[in-house]
């Protein structure tokens, strides 16, 4: 038995078992017999085991340097460190689809374990099996990583050097896929709800899943930004690259869905809207894969052209067809309860949700616009970051305004407490914006500071309201606070998330506005002030690190130790990759890049110093947002593991 044989066997097994699961789900639906549901749940278990086997087979080939299959022959190198070998599984197209299929099987399994509703179970399982079957089918018939190689080489090129340059690449794709795949569960429930005509309850039942997917997506996006910051050597964290956009679109749609789903849960409104939202969010994950794997759009992440593009486009159309077909069939039956007042929690939640939808639309438009221009006018263009920046600034400000106010307002109305809190918040906004302007900040920065203060007051006010409710029941201050924190997991978690978002916005505003970027060529031993820092170039050193060749500059920062920016040369790349030295700081980061050096005698080097304020706080904000999501979903993990009903 070789890895190739084992892998192919596992894929066939997985495909057949998934197909069986789908068949059993359909039978359960037609025959209305719960025994078929039980059998389909078992199919979920065994098909997950099959996917795990395929995953293990590919790892087996990678870790034992077996070049007899296409994937290792094209993407593996014996010289890579062990962690790179392991992560090579998701460093190229075929392997990343295998990771996707494995995670899909995992989610199908977990979702199957806690299905209680006999009416919806067959349709939920059927949808998940359908999605899973697509991925197994792609693996088996379109991009099979286990395709045998007639004359196995003894050494391969290794994965893309950009991916080997940082350990984050072992983590970021997995987080991203956990998020993407997680959206399939609420989508499956939504499809089932439409099929079974039980329009109300699916939102509450999938709340936990939606939040888990949202948490992973958030983590994946922040991890990707951090990777970009540490590896790409340009001192930025977000470039509006098509692949970044492809991950951002589902995040925006999911965020919007989370907010209107709350309104449906509590007030029975926005049923069609929520169904549309989750369909689009799920479709967006497929859309992103299509964009980046088809060669339609050029990007750092894009893999070469291949037959995968049309296949994913077909799947995308199928998802949209199913979603909107069902929606049009049932939209006549969906009736929302009651009207809506704009100045109420649901009114502001709707407003926020619309902003998210607009943002998603803008990102889609900006990403696809080059294709439209090329089709219409024949010009080749790209849409620059300034477009996204200028449109996102006002939309972001609107979001920050709504975000502070919405959780404070009661459902359906405004009460005196909320009115008072709002007046405090708006005063803080006005005061801090004016103060920042007075201190010489630009309008954008001043507004950013004002909105941060506004949201800070909002968080305090909301906490005061929660604690006050327990105080009125006769608790002391501390006891009331603890009870509020322990009992009100959703509002408390949401507050934490909102605070994290406000902090992230502040960090983005400052890092964009006050970035200093300068470069200078220094002789060995020469001292010069670059971007306000006195630097001395001490020496240049070349190192052979086996799988790559490194040139390291030793730079002394007067009074602050030494920094070691590097250039990495990989055998498969004809230009070096910069590995900047980043020194994180509370006020700003020092980001030193070795731009170029004297290749003949090693007597000079060009150094570039980027000093960006508050970048550290962006990563802290990411951590806070994740903690907030975790605070809400954590009680559900134990229950999910037991397989009982989860409500966050």
């Amino acid at each position: 038995m070789s890895p190739g044989v084992a892998g192919n066997l596992a894929l066939v097994l997985g495909f057949v078992l998934t197909g069986t699961g789908l068949l059993l789900s359909v039978l359960a639906w037609w025959a209305k017999d719960a025994r078929y549901v039980e059998a389909a749940k078992r199919a979920a278990v065994v098909s997950f085991l099959a996917s795990l086997l395929a995953f293990a087979a590919l790892e087996w080939a990678l870790l034992t340097d077996d070049f007899s299959i296409a994937y290792t022959a094209e993407n593996h190198s014996t010289k890579s460190p062990t962690w790179v070998k392991f992560a090579t599984l998701w460093a190229a197209l075929e392997g990343s689809i295998l990771l996707w299929a494995t995670l899909q099987a995992l989610y199908t399994l977990l979702a199957a374990r806690r299905l209680r509703d006999v009416w919806m179970a067959p349709a939920v399982l059927g949808t998940l099996f359908g999605v899973q079957l697509f991925f197994f089918g792609v693996l088996l018939f379109v991009t099979n990583p286990f395709t045998p190689v007639p004359n196995p080489p003894t050494e391969g090129p290794g994965p893309n050097p950009l991916l080997q340059n940082h350990w984050m690449m072992a983590v970021h794709p997995v987080l991203m896929y956990l998020g993407f795949v997680g959206i399939s569960v609420p989508f499956a429930y939504a499809v089932a709800a439409m099929l079974a005509r039980r329009y109300q309850s699916w939102v509450a039942e999938t709340r936990w899943w939606t939040l888990v997917a949202f948490g992973f997506l958030t983590a994946g996006i922040f991890a990707g930004g951090w990777w970009s910051y540490e590896v790409l050597g340009w001192g930025g964290y977000w470039a509006w690259d098509p692949v970044e956009n492809a991950s951002f679109i589902p995040w925006l749609l999911l965020a919007g869905f989370l907010h209107t789903a709350m309104v449906q849960e509590r007030r029975g409104m926005f049923k069609s809207w929520n169904f549309t939202y989750i369909t689009l969010a799920f479709a967006a994950t497929v859309f992103g894969t299509f964009l980046t794997r088809s060669g339609v759009i050029q990007s750092v992440h894009a893999f070469a052209d291949g037959p995968v593009g049309p296949v994913f486009l077909g799947f995308l159309l199928l998802v949209l067809l199913v979603g909107f077909g069902l929606l049009s069939r049932v939209s006549a039956e969906v009736r929302d309860l009651g009207g809506i007042s704009l100045l109420s929690r649901e009114g502001l939640l709707l407003g926020g949700s619309l902003v998210f939808a607009t943002m998603a639309f803008v990102v889609v438009l900006g990403t696809l616009f080059p294709l439209i221009v090329e089709a219409v006018r024949g010009d080749e263009v790209s849409v620059g970051a300034p477009f996204f920046d200028t449109v996102f600034a006002p939309l972001g400000a609107a979001l920050l305004l709504l975000m502070g106010a919405a959780p404070l307002l009661p459902w359906g109305r405004v009460d005196p407490f909320a009115a008072r809190a709002l007046s405090f918040m708006l005063s803080a906004l006005a005061l801090f914006t004016a103060l920042s302007l007075f201190l010489g900040a630009g309008f954008g920065v001043a507004l950013g500071v004002g909105l941060f203060a506004y949201n800070l007051v909002a968080v305090v006010a909301q906490g005061a309201r929660g604690v006050g409710a327990w105080r009125r029941k006769g608790e002391g201050y501390l006891a009331a606070l603890l009870r509020y924190l322990a009992r009100a997991r959703r509002p408390v978690g949401a507050q934490i998330v909102h605070f994290g978002v406000a902090l992230a916005a502040l960090a983005i505003v400052f890092s964009q506005a006050y970035r200093v970027d300068a470069q200078k060529t220094l002789e060995i031993g020469e001292r010069a002030v670059v971007a306000g820092l006195p630097l001395t170039l001490r020496r240049l050193e070349a190192r052979d690190e086996g799988f790559r060749f490194a040139v390291v500059a030793e730079v002394e920062v007067s009074g602050a130790g030494r920094m070691y920016p590097r250039l990495h040369y990989y055998p498969t790349m004809n230009s070096p990759l910069a590995a900047p030295h980043v020194r994180y700081g509370i006020y700003h980061d020092d980001y030193l890049i070795l731009q170029a050096f004297d290749t003949e005698e090693g007597r000079w080097a060009t150094l570039r110093m980027v000093r960006t304020p508050m970048v550290l706080w962006l990563w802290v904000a990411g951590g806070i947002i994740l903690f907030g999501v975790f605070y809400i979903v954590s009680p559900g993990f134990a229950r999910a593991a037991r397989g009982s009903e989860v409500t966050a």
Binding site: E380, V391, Q595, A596
Partner: protein, 142 residues
């Protein structure tokens, strides 16, 4: 009551639409070659451009003190003088395919971002560049 909301919605959608439309027009980056520039120089004046071509032999002038780089970019047919503030990247040399982002001012191209073709699969063609090679260069440079 209803009409008020519709007007509000109309104003908001209009404002967003105006913002998007204006923003798109302002921030398009055109991918062109020197000869395409000379076909319609007026059209590209002041616009943000990603210009691709080959560094002409013997045209590189670099002042390391001021970090000012001047060279001539060619696609075999037309030539454009380029001014770039900053250091040339490690692989920058004569007859190398490069992409410069920036704007035309009169006949000179002022670049602020200089990219040497950076793909893991790309190898410069042995027998010199054709206009198609230059096109691919621009498209793939990142």
């Amino acid at each position: 009551m209803k009409a008020k909301y519709w007007i509000g919605l109309f104003v908001v959608v209009g404002a967003i639409g105006y913002m998007i439309w204006g923003g798109l027009g302002q921030s398009l980056v055109y991918f062109i070659t020197p000869s395409e520039y000379f076909e319609e120089p007026v059209r590209y004046q002041g616009k943000r451009i990603r210009l691709g071509g080959i560094v002409k032999e013997g045209s590189i002038a670099f002042d390391p003190k001021a970090l000012e780089l001047r060279f001539i970019l060619t696609d075999g047919v037309a030539e454009v003088p380029v001014f770039h503030q900053g250091t040339p990247p490690a692989l920058f040399k004569e007859r190398q395919g490069v992409v410069v982002e920036g704007r035309f001012q009169d006949q000179t191209f002022y670049g602020d971002n200089l990219l040497v073709k950076h793909s893991e699969t790309y190898r410069p063609p042995e027998e010199g560049y054709t206009p198609e090679d230059v096109r691919n260069l621009i498209r793939e440079a990142k």
